[in-house]
Symmetry: C2
Subunit: 235 residues, 2 copies
């Protein structure tokens, strides 16, 4: 049975890394003693080793040991063997490029569909959707494809940001950008504000956290979803 936590962000303002999610993760990973970390997105350009170390420190507090995917000679096999998988945030273009280059995009999809519990934050959440095309990131590298894991049948926009009241900046708002996406792409886009996450158990998808999420569908007005909303039929 599929089992995913798809989080908007790893960190809330003023909080420690994954702090707000730890009680949820203790339950989510309760049968796991080890976790495979995918450090490819490299936030701020941090090294794979340093990123993995940061994550290992956090998971040590709930008694889970962490190894980075970059430490394995055969990444595909490492994914197949993993007890649990966590893909961290950073740059989605870099993440997707490296998932393809290391031949693990399909391997992760298969593992999670077969029941390996998965955690994604930010870029690691973005890739659980159909495509990475509603990322906020800069295209710092050219990926072989924009197609991603498709573990949920829609797209995600993590770190969803409401228009800033009184702003005089003329760049597009997040909503404008997603509307441009819908001029040429049909799938729904779920804007997850920082502090929200999706819980996927088999075919059941539920909005969690204290906040509303914003749902965009092609040709329809955007709508606010209350926490607890069942999204199992969204596609």
């Amino acid at each position: 049975m599929k089992k995913l936590i798809i989080a908007s962000t790893s960190t809330l303002h003023g909080g420690a890394y994954l702090e707000y999610l730890l009680p949820t993760l203790e339950v989510h990973f309760k049968d796991c003693k080890s976790l495979l970390f995918v450090p490819y997105a490299r936030p701020g350009g941090i090294s794979h080793d340093d990123y993995t170390k940061r994550v290992a420190e956090t998971f040590a507090t709930i008694n889970i040991s962490v190894k980075g995917l970059h430490e394995f000679d055969n990444p595909e096999q490492a994914v197949a063997d993993a007890e649990a998988i966590f893909t961290g945030g950073g740059n989605t273009f870099l993440l997707v490029t490296q998932l393809y280059q290391n031949n693990v995009m399909t391997a992760i999809k298969k593992a999670v569909e077969n029941g390996t519990p998965y955690l994604g934050s930010s870029a690691g959440s973005n890739i659980t959707g159909l495509t990475m095309q509603t990322t906020n990131d800069m295209p710092i590298i050219y990926p072989p494809s924009f197609n991603t894991l498709g573990l949920v049948p829609f797209n995600l926009n993590p770190h969803y940001l409401d228009p800033i009241e009184g702003s005089t900046h003329m760049g597009e708002t997040r909503e404008t950008r997603i509307n441009e996406f819908h001029k040429i792409n049909p799938q729904p886009v779920l804007g997850l504000r920082e502090g929200s996450w999706l819980e996927v158990h088999g075919d059941k998808i539920t909005l969690k956290g204290d906040l509303q999420a914003r749902l965009f569908r092609q040709g329809k007005e955007a709508e606010e979803l209350e926490t607890g909303t069942d999204l199992s039929d969204l596609k």
Copy 2:
């Protein structure tokens, strides 16, 4: 002789379309009676016709007639024949995809190198750089390449935005994103704030407008450049 205006934005807050640039454009296009408009970036998903009409209304005030590139059966020939070229803003991924699909990326580069005066705003400015990889836009479509016109030997970040003081949002700042770009790409990136533009005359590149621009170079501290700065040696 190359002759370009590379503007951060078409529109300032509270101003009309291209209003702040019109005195500059009257001089820039003084020998032109007609202009070829590239509407491919479709801001907000506006149609090519509607976008071209908006631009034609503005240029009518300085006695220049406008035709959209989408109106021609042979876009490559239309570019070669143009008296002047303007590429408007919108989504850079869509713009670049269509420039390649319609076989005009090289044609525009050649025309501008041979002296056809060029105006770019936002996405239309982004493509004058080496690559489109420092765009702020959403990857709503997969372009055949991220390489662009290379009419200046660096990259541009239009609508450059300073970090918002007191923000609790945990998404990356523009500066963080550009620093991530520099972890894997060597070329300088010029952050052009709204109201700034570059003037290119042959090999001479000058920062114009009232504001400073922010220059990012791989492995160096970002620096502020005063208006009037000569950027001819930047690469």
